[in-house]
């Protein structure tokens, strides 16, 4: 912890960053903090409880535009950062990134390549509860699955916290806000809620880092991250690892399968 504080402090003292996006101790768990000077770096914490995906702030223009940013990034935040680079949303020279190595040490990741290596070499943090729920859902018949998701999504009240918490949802105008024509029912109803989630998930194809922040943010506790998780698996099975093949959503390849099109 001290190491991160010192590294961040040094960056401020050398004038290499304008803000540092990290975690501080919160009410129950660590929460995001924006540090603006060397002194406040002493509030920083960074451990395996720091799971909120901080990459979400890197595309918030009102917070970071024109600024040189330091950031402490969890495993999944790093995956999101890679994807944001691929989508031309970040500039390497404006970022100082720190990850947490396997032995708990702070690791400076100075280039996109270094982050990619880190992700390759680091096992993803386990998600035991998710694995359990996925097993249960996989074992369901399609009718049971429909009933499960209908029940879950009937509770959605369309606050869009799932969207706000996701680093990949950086559009300035989301499809749910386009009203000429209105693509998606803006009011809450089971079918309209499903339309919303299906759209959200489809837009994540090959982009989702599987961080789970969408579902952690959902105040109702709907496990919507399992939808994006499943989508990632489907994309991988059909189009290969997105990091090798470019963006599945925007890259056409003659050998792309079309068998999933109904």
């Amino acid at each position: 912890m001290d190491e991160l504080r010192n590294r961040a402090k040094e960056l401020f003292e050398k004038g290499e960053i304008d803000i540092f996006i990290g975690y501080e101790q919160g009410t129950r768990n660590p929460r995001p903090i924006f540090v603006g000077n060397a002194e406040d770096t002493q509030k920083l914490v960074f451990n395996d409880k720091c799971t909120g995906n901080l990459a979400v702030y890197l595309t918030r223009k009102d917070l970071v535009k024109g600024k040189r940013v330091g950031i402490s990034a969890s495993y999944y935040a790093l995956k999101s950062i890679v994807q944001l680079f691929v989508e031309n949303q970040l500039k390497e020279e404006n970022l100082k990134i720190f990850g947490l190595a396997n032995d708990g040490k702070i690791e400076a990741l100075n280039s996109l390549d270094e982050i990619k290596h880190y992700i390759k070499d680091t096992p993803p943090p386990p998600k035991l509860e998710d694995d359990e729920l996925i097993k249960q859902i996989d074992a369901m018949s399609s009718a049971e699955r429909w009933a499960f998701w209908s029940d879950e999504l009937s509770k959605c009240f369309k606050c869009y916290a799932c969207r706000a918490a996701c680093p990949m949802c950086y559009c300035t105008k989301c499809i749910v806000e386009v009203n000429r024509p209105q693509w998606i029912q803006p009011w809450a109803s089971t079918l309209g809620n499903m339309e919303w989630q299906i759209n959200r998930v489809m837009h994540m194809a090959g982009r989702c880092s599987d961080c789970g922040s969408c579902s952690t943010a959902c105040p109702i506790g709907i496990p919507i991250h399992l939808l994006t998780h499943k989508m990632s698996e489907t994309v991988k099975a059909n189009f290969g690892d997105p990091s090798d093949k470019g963006n599945v959503l925007s890259t056409f390849k003659p050998e792309d399968k079309e068998s999933f099109i109904l």
Binding site: Y57, C159, A164
Partner: protein
């Protein structure tokens, strides 16, 4: 106010009877680690182990989607079908905590500020609130900092306080009396006990007086920017809040007929104040966060004489980035 005693069994039998007689009953139902109000068909479904339900009970009077009227165009004539009041059933909300019961007053203030709102008022007329005092709390609760308390009677029609094997029942309003009188045999004599002994101890986190003194003159303060930096503008806080009443009007149009709908909205959303011209008077999140707190603690008290926060702590529990409202208010009160 009349005081009585009701045993746990009698309470359950009373609710069952009310349900059998046609009242719809909303009560806390647990699923996984979340508890929320649901319309129940059997008292077996009720769970009272939670500290706070995820959502407030406001949807009983202010549903997340409300059909205000419908219309039909035929050969140039338009027929309007106004909000249908007769279809609203008698409703009993059981098991809300005092901070939620108190939340209906600010809601009512907003919905009666100018033109009395028909759907809200009609729903409230048919709703009776049976609240249960809190015997436990967590670090997010701060009712005692905003003039509430875990045994506060304000807003409830009946307040039950859990005492040995049963409840002290305080019958507060005429509506409550009518409900209790329907089956008076379930109730017993006033147990004559000191209710305070059974209540949760909720520490006061900030001085309301200091907060009131400061917050109305803080429009230009740098504190809004500093506090709101991590806020994602997601709206979760507003959707779970018992007093937040922002709404959006939508059209559910099907050719020449359709419905006008009122849907929940949130002042934390970037599009909430967007004008058709493209101009947005609340351009950045700090302005929206300021609006949230000033609306609750300055504008509402000044204009409709009721605070827009009952200290339930739901917004803090729901916030994905731990924007702990009590912590922020404490900071403001001590500026």
């Amino acid at each position: 106010m009349e005081k009585k005693y009701i045993s746990h069994n009698s309470l359950m039998n009373w609710l069952t009877k009310l349900n059998d007689e046609g009242s719809q009953i909303y009560a806390p139902v647990a699923k996984g680690d979340k508890t929320d109000y649901k319309q129940i068909t059997s008292v077996e479904e009720i769970s009272m182990d939670h500290i706070q339900t995820t959502q407030s009970a406001k949807a009983v009077a202010f549903p997340r989607t409300e059909k205000l009227f419908s219309y039909k165009k035929e050969n140039g004539d338009v027929t309007l079908q106004n909000f249908e009041t007769t279809s609203i059933p008698e409703t009993v909300v059981f098991g809300i905590h005092p901070c939620d019961a108190a939340g209906f007053k600010p809601l009512s203030g907003i919905f009666n500020w100018d033109t009395p709102d028909l759907p809200f008022n009609e729903r409230m007329k048919r709703t009776t609130l049976i609240a249960v005092s809190c015997t436990q709390c967590d670090e997010f609760c701060f009712c005692t900092s905003v003039n509430g308390s875990p045994g506060n009677t304000a807003g409830s029609d009946i307040l039950l306080t859990p005492v040995k094997d049963g409840y002290l029942a305080e019958i507060i309003t005429e509506k409550g009396e009518n409900l209790a009188d329907k089956h008076s045999t379930f109730f017993e004599a006033d147990p004559n006990i000191n209710k305070e002994e059974y209540l949760a101890k909720v520490p006061v986190q900030f001085s309301l007086e200091e907060l009131n003194k400061k917050i109305s003159n803080m429009f230009e303060s740098p504190v809004w920017k500093q506090q709101s930096e991590r806020c994602l503008g997601c709206g979760a806080c507003a959707y779970v809040c018992p007093t937040c009443a922002c709404f959006d009007i939508q059209e559910d149009a099907h050719g020449s007929s359709g419905n006008r709908l009122r849907c929940w909205d949130a002042c934390g959303f970037s599009l909430f104040t967007m004008h058709t011209s493209g101009h947005n008077p609340r351009e950045v999140q700090s302005q929206r966060w300021r609006q949230r707190l000033l609306h609750k603690f300055s504008y509402m008290p000044e204009r409709i004489s009721v605070r827009g926060c009952t200290g339930c702590g739901r917004c803090s529990r729901a916030c994905p980035v731990d924007m702990n409202i009590a912590e922020h208010l404490t900071e403001i009160a001590s500026l």
